[in-house]
């Protein structure tokens, strides 16, 4: 049995080395998620989108860093805050928007909406809006992978709120016992909706997976190079059959719990929000590394930004112009035929 590992806090810059090509790809992907989500917020505020959405802005480095460490065939499962995971695993902007607008070419034909985007073609087993449920789906997928010898790794993304669900502990126990190839990625944005996680979570987060003998790391989730390198190591061990691993990334959501959560001062301060945006922004951190140590010109970065904006706008145009599903679709897919 492998010993549980805990990395000491603090950064080891050298081990976060990534190639320029990879770094630029991750940069583009983070910018894509950022602009996508900003557009979603705007769609809500201008009453162009049905329902609500839970924005991922601020947490981009986690989805991007982890998915960069995965192959296309590897699985992910996601949550109500899932747009970032879907995009990072390869979903297309236009079809994402189409789903959010309830249109026919959306990933779920308009049936799922923001909280349930699934794209099996890119390994995305779907977003689930029941807290903790993503861990079940991924552990099941890992079970399949092991039984059928597929060599695939399954990643469950979830927030620290999921640590409140008993399901997670049943899953971790079985995953550890049976050495299932699953990586649990806990995005600790520090708030379960409107309550700080310290009021809902006893002890240390990392002690929980460690109790099952699961290899566990807790890192800052804002530097995508760190997330990528850590995930890469864990994924290697998981794929090699060493059993599950657990990655806790400390992070922050810049916006509300959902797009309608505008007045947040009763549960967190403007200063705290400002500090994360100013000092720990994942796009800025990678941008600074690219310009300062890799001699990437600011123009290169703004070109990426501009290209992504165009991609977002044309994706949105596509979605806006797309038809709604045929009304008879309502009865389709209740049972598999």
């Amino acid at each position: 049995m492998s010993e549980p590992k805990m990395e000491p806090a603090g950064r080891n810059e050298k081990s976060f080395e990534v190639s320029l090509k990879r770094a630029l790809r991750m940069y583009r992907q983070m910018v894509r998620i950022r602009h996508f989500e900003e557009r979603v917020d705007n769609l809500y505020k201008t009453a162009q989108m049905p329902g609500l959405a839970h924005l991922y802005i601020g947490e981009e480095a986690i989805a991007v860093g982890v998915c960069e460490a995965l192959g296309k065939a590897d699985y992910i499962s996601s949550t109500h805050r899932g747009h970032g995971h879907c995009l990072a695993k390869g979903a297309l902007v236009g079809r994402m928007f189409a789903e959010l607008l309830g249109k026919k070419p959306g990933y779920c034909g308009g049936k799922g909406g923001s909280m349930h985007i699934a794209d099996p073609d890119s390994g995305n087993l779907g977003a689930d809006a029941i807290v903790g449920a993503s861990a079940g789906v991924a552990t099941g997928a890992a079970f399949t992978s092991k039984k059928l010898g597929l060599g695939k790794v399954a990643v469950a993304f979830f927030g620290e709120g999921a640590l409140g669900q008993g399901l997670l502990y049943e899953l971790m126990n079985m995953a550890a016992l049976w050495k299932l190839p699953v990586l649990y990625v806990c995005e600790n944005n520090m708030y379960n909706e409107y309550t700080r996680y310290t009021e809902t979570t006893a002890g240390q987060l990392e002690d929980r997976p460690l109790a099952f003998g699961i290899q566990t790391k807790r890192i800052g989730g804002q530097d995508v190079r760190e997330v990528y390198r850590t995930a890469e190591e864990l994924v290697k061990d998981v794929r090699a059959g060493q059993g599950p691993a657990f990655l806790i990334c400390d992070t922050y959501r810049y916006y509300g719990h959902h797009v309608g959560d505008i007045n947040r001062s009763y549960y967190r301060s403007k200063e705290e929000e400002g500090m994360w945006k100013k000092e720990r922004d994942p796009i800025r951190i990678l941008g600074a590394w690219l310009t300062d140590t890799k001699n990437v010109s600011p123009e290169t970065l703004s070109k990426i930004d501009k290209e992504v904006r165009e991609e977002i706008e044309s994706g949105l145009e596509f979605a806006k112009n797309a038809p709604y599903p045929d009304p008879t679709e309502v009865n389709a897919n209740v049972y598999a035929e």
Binding site: P50, G51, L52, E99, G102, K103, C108, G110, K111, G112, G113, S114, M115, H116, D128, A129, I130, V131, G132, G161, A162, L163, G164, Q165, G166, N192, E193, Y194, T195, E199, T200, T201, Y266, Y267, Y324, P325, P327, E329, V330, N331, V334
Partner: protein, 337 residues
Amino acid sequence: MFMQNNQVNDENMREISFAEAIREALAEEMRRDPTVYIMGEDVAEAGTPFKVLLGLVDEFGTERVVDTPISEAGFSAIGVGSAMTGMRPVIDIMFGDFLPLAMEQIVNRAAKIHYMSGGKLRVPIVFRTTLGAGRRSAAQHSQSLHAWFSHIPGLKVAIPSTPYDAKGLWKTAIRDDSPVIFFEDKMMYSLKGLVPDEEYTIPFGLADIKRSGKDITLVATSSMVQVALDAAKKLEEIGLSAEVVDPRTTWPLDKKTLIASAKKTGRVIVIDEGYEQYGVTAELAAVIAEGAFYYLDAPVRRFGAMDVPVPFSPVLEDQTIPSAEQIVEAAKDLCAV
């Protein structure tokens, strides 16, 4: 004092919203009985996502308005255990869709302990939750699952449709020595209605005639009462007089009032937002068919939510909820006009 709507004297009434009525009932009961407490996710400062409980924590403190981790099974269990030992918990399950996570505690424990103990133990607990689609919240945040609980002996189920009923039924629920599941239609929180200044309660198992008529009976629950009233208005325009009967609790069920109305009009449509298959409408229709068979001029018709997981896209979702137009058509058909 027990009251029905038609006994109310308008002079001593105030107009308040459905949400305010619920808040008032809870506050009054908490003032009256120090063993009453509320527990659930984001019930305290946040006052729940729908803000229904806003302000209660200011009066009663966090000892009695208790925020929990996202642990429905766990805090429901604590609720049951504390109810057995002298407390009167109100357990807040944010969305009815999350009831499955608490199901074990409700069905195998709360519902049965009084009986299993030969009457020695009591479980005076209320599970507070929501029902209803229409918010573009997709399949895991839109269900109306009250039929499940109406099926279980040992549970009582309240499903009010007006501020007046909500307040009166809430007070009865808290005082009841048996477990109650209390369903609030989340689309109804801002609905206004008259509520008396003085204290009142509404007994369980007493239907209310929301509108009297002679040609056809519309039995409607919760979210569907407004739809039925709307249909009744449209029917009046074409010369049909519809009676709207609201059972207010699906269990205990006021069979007498339903049957009496059916006997009077000879034609009945039953409307409820739960799924139609094996749903509340089936039970109500059976009760009426059995009790008023020789008085019926036509078979009882029923409308529930379409038997599909609630889809996200507005063009699909809107079809799944019974509409006034559908009811008008069915009524015309039954009355052969």
